[in-house]
Amino acid sequence: MKQTPERIEALAAEYVLGSLQGAARRRFERWMVGSSAVRQEVRFWEERLGELSTALPEQAPPASVWQGVSRRLWPSRERSAASVPVARTQAQGVSGWARWFWPGWSLAATAAAVVLALLLGVNPGTRDTGAELALSGAVVQPDVDDPLWLVSETANQNQLRLRPVAATAANPGKDYELWVVPETGAPLSLGVLTAGNVTVIPLDDRLRKVLASSRTLAISLEPRGGSPTGAPTGPILHVAKLYSL
């Protein structure tokens, strides 16, 4: 079929409208590849008819859509290995608050090295409205592909959720305990953490405030049931920094 200006004009409109179909549509797409005049005509309609699209009401998609997108773009192995934009050394990450609080804490002696990871794919529905920052992040360990726990804060429900992914149970007679680490002052207990189930921790105003400013969590190994003193007594296994998404 010859590409006359009249044909281009008529077919471009129907192409954008969607009513040009089948073999005719595919032929027209070949025309677009070969001719800037055809592309220009298509753009005219895309822009003008595009206004019809923007007039439609918004519909929030289910979270599974984002999960699907991130799964397809970044398969999990690559995601945990390559998408660690902030991988600080322990010394940089914790020295400010930890040195004074656990004077005996030797960086080299900790059981697990700490990497701070921002994991995309956590908390996909959250809008960063500024007023309600929702934090998320991951507790990771360099020799383990997957994060140990995924952390997310649901801002409007005042909850912190930790979902175990690659976490393994604490040794018999021991428990993991989660702490929020303030910028200054002693860590505040958020309770005992399990490796088997999602842990949901309600946050009161004070905890939220501290978390919002320091954005730092720590996990220590404690006797079963948690620290008897209200302060960490065992080794600090992990430190995780949260990010607002």
Partner: protein, 185 residues
């Protein structure tokens, strides 16, 4: 106005960052526009499953094609809406699926004159387009809007409007040409 530069500038920044493979920017982009795109996919497809699949495909494409975007392809939002729309149409064709073709599609697509559609078009700053659509005959206008919003084929349109297919084709063709003349004035 939905298309104001206030909204487009941040989208432009996020899209440029996405082109540099900034995942966080991409997620922020998703957070900002996914509801807009999903509203469109859902309206077109008439069913959630297909709309969700199309939206997912569209964002995978947006990630890969962000580097192709430039200003003369329209606003960032329109460019992304276009990707979502074409992907939805492709899937609908591939599945030959259309939830409803008959009276229902006509009933819940208001005819756009003085209805909620016209109002939302005006709110979206599409006063020019609205004005020009109003100059078309009812059947021209209906067949264009049904094609656009519902992705109806000529055959489905003929069925929906109880008219011969040749007639429907000429409504669309003449309607579009009249629309173009009006928009170009």
């Amino acid at each position: 106005m939905v298309d104001s530069m206030d909204e487009q500038e941040p989208l432009m920044r996020l899209l440029l960052a996405t082109a540099r493979e900034d995942r966080l920017a991409f997620q922020q982009l998703y957070d900002r526009v996914s509801s807009r795109l999903f509203g469109l996919c859902l309206k077109l497809a008439g069913q959630r499953e297909l709309a969700e699949e199309a939206l997912q495909d569209a964002f995978v494409q947006i990630w890969h094609r962000a580097g192709d975007y430039h200003r003369d392809r329209g606003t960032p939002l329109n460019w992304m809406m276009g990707i979502a729309r074409y992907r939805t149409l492709d899937l609908m064709r591939a599945r030959k699926s259309r939830a409803t073709v008959g009276d229902e599609s006509l009933a819940d697509l208001d005819d756009g004159r003085d209805g909620p559609l016209e109002q939302s078009l005006k709110d979206a700053g599409a006063t020019r387009l609205t004005g020009c659509l109003n100059e078309l005959s009812d059947v021209q206008r209906d067949s264009i809007l049904l094609s656009y919003y519902r992705g109806l084929t000529h055959e489905e349109l003929a069925l929906a409007l109880s008219s011969p297919i040749g007639t429907v084709k000429s409504w669309i063709r003449r309607g579009l040409m009249a629309l173009k003349r009006c928009l170009e004035q």
